[in-house]
C-alpha cells in the first residue's frame, strides 16, 4: 500500500509538472500503477539473503535495487507514454529515486516510532525493578 501510495504521489506531481490538462483512461491508468507497484515489490527480492546483511551489503543492494528499478520502470513507462523526451527521462529517473528515498524515509519513521515505544517500556521496566 505504501509503495502504491508513493507511486501515485510521484505520478500526480509528474502529471502536474508536464501535462496538467491530460485526461487518462481510469482503468488503464490504475492498472499500470498496479503493475509498477508489483514490479517495485518483486524487485525487493534483491535484498533477500540467507545471512544477515551487513551495512555495506545493504547499501550495495540498495544501489542495485535502484538501478534495477530504473532499468525496468523507465522503458516500461516510455512504452506507456509516461515520458517522451530526453529531459523527461531525467525527471522520471529522478522521481523513481525520490520514490525510493520516500519509501526508506517512511520505513525509518515507522521504525523510529517503534524504537521510542520500546525504549519507553525499557525505561519503565527499569524503574519498576528499582522500586
Amino acid at each position: 500500500m505504501t509503495v502504491y501510495g508513493i507511486i501515485m504521489l510521484c505520478t500526480f506531481f509528474m502529471c502536474l509538472l508536464f501535462n496538467p490538462t491530460s485526461e487518462l483512461p481510469v482503468v488503464t491508468f490504475f492498472g499500470r500503477i498496479m503493475v509498477f507497484t508489483l514490479i517495485a515489490l518483486l524487485s525487493l527480492g534483491v535484498y533477500y539473503s540467507k545471512e544477515e546483511l551487513t551495512v555495506k551489503a545493504w547499501w550495495m543492494r540498495t544501489v542495485l535495487h535502484l538501478l534495477l528499478l530504473e532499468a525496468v520502470l523507465l522503458p516500461l513507462a516510455h512504452c506507456w507514454g509516461f515520458w517522451h523526451s530526453g529531459t523527461d527521462i531525467l525527471v522520471y529517473a529522478g522521481f523513481i529515486l525520490l520514490a525510493k528515498a520516500l519509501w526508506h524515509l517512511a520505513d525509518y519513521s515507522l521504525n523510529a516510532k517503534t524504537a521510542a515505544q520500546i525504549n519507553e517500556r525499557i525505561r519503565k521496566n527499569r524503574l519498576e525493578k528499582r522500586a
Binding site: 544477515e52 521504525n111 517500556r121 525499557i122
Partner: protein
C-alpha cells in the same frame, strides 16, 4: 490457591512441596524451574568448561556453524545449534533477534532505528547488535509493549 510459606532454621535444608491436581500443569513446570535454579547452558573457553545461567548470557550467536555465547565481557563456545538455544530459551527473556542471533531482552539498554530498515540494540555493556524487523514483534511482546 492456598500458598504456605514456612520459615525454617539455617541448619535445615530448604524444601518445596507442590500439591496439585495435574503434575504436568504449566505453573507446576514454572515452579520446578524456579526451584531448580535458573536454566543453564554448558560452554567452554580455552579448554575450561563453564555452566552459565541464562540470566548471565547477553546473546547467543552462530557464525560459520560455530556457536558462541556472549556474556558481559567474555565469549564462550558451545555445542548447541541455534534452534536448540531457542528451545532452551523458551519462556525466558531471550528471543531470536536475527537470522543468527538470540538476544537477552533484559540486557538491552536502548534500541534505535537504522537506515537499513532494522534496529540497533545497544546493550548494557555498550555492545551493539542488530535486531531484524521480523523479530521486533517478539521483543515488544517480551517487554509488554
Amino acid at each position: 490457591m492456598k500458598v504456605t510459606v514456612e520459615q525454617i532454621d539455617r541448619e535445615r535444608e530448604e524444601e518445596l512441596i507442590v500439591r496439585c491436581h495435574d503434575p504436568d500443569a504449566s505453573w507446576v513446570e514454572s515452579v520446578r524451574e524456579a526451584a531448580s535454579g535458573q536454566r543453564t547452558v554448558c560452554c567452554w573457553r580455552e579448554d575450561m568448561l563453564r555452566r552459565l545461567k541464562l540470566s548471565e548470557v547477553f546473546y547467543f550467536e552462530v557464525v560459520d556453524d560455530r556457536s558462541f555465547v556472549y556474556t558481559q565481557a567474555e565469549v564462550f563456545e558451545a555445542k548447541e545449534k541455534l534452534y536448540e538455544f531457542e528451545r532452551l530459551c523458551m519462556g525466558s527473556a531471550l528471543f531470536r533477534c536475527s537470522k543468527s542471533m538470540i538476544l537477552n531482552a533484559e540486557k538491552i539498554d536502548y534500541v534505535r532505528p537504522s537506515l537499513s530498515g532494522r534496529f540497533e540494540a545497544v546493550l548494557s555493556n555498550g555492545e551493539k547488535v542488530v535486531v531484524s524487523r521480523k523479530y521486533v514483534a517478539d521483543l515488544k511482546r517480551l517487554l509488554g509493549v
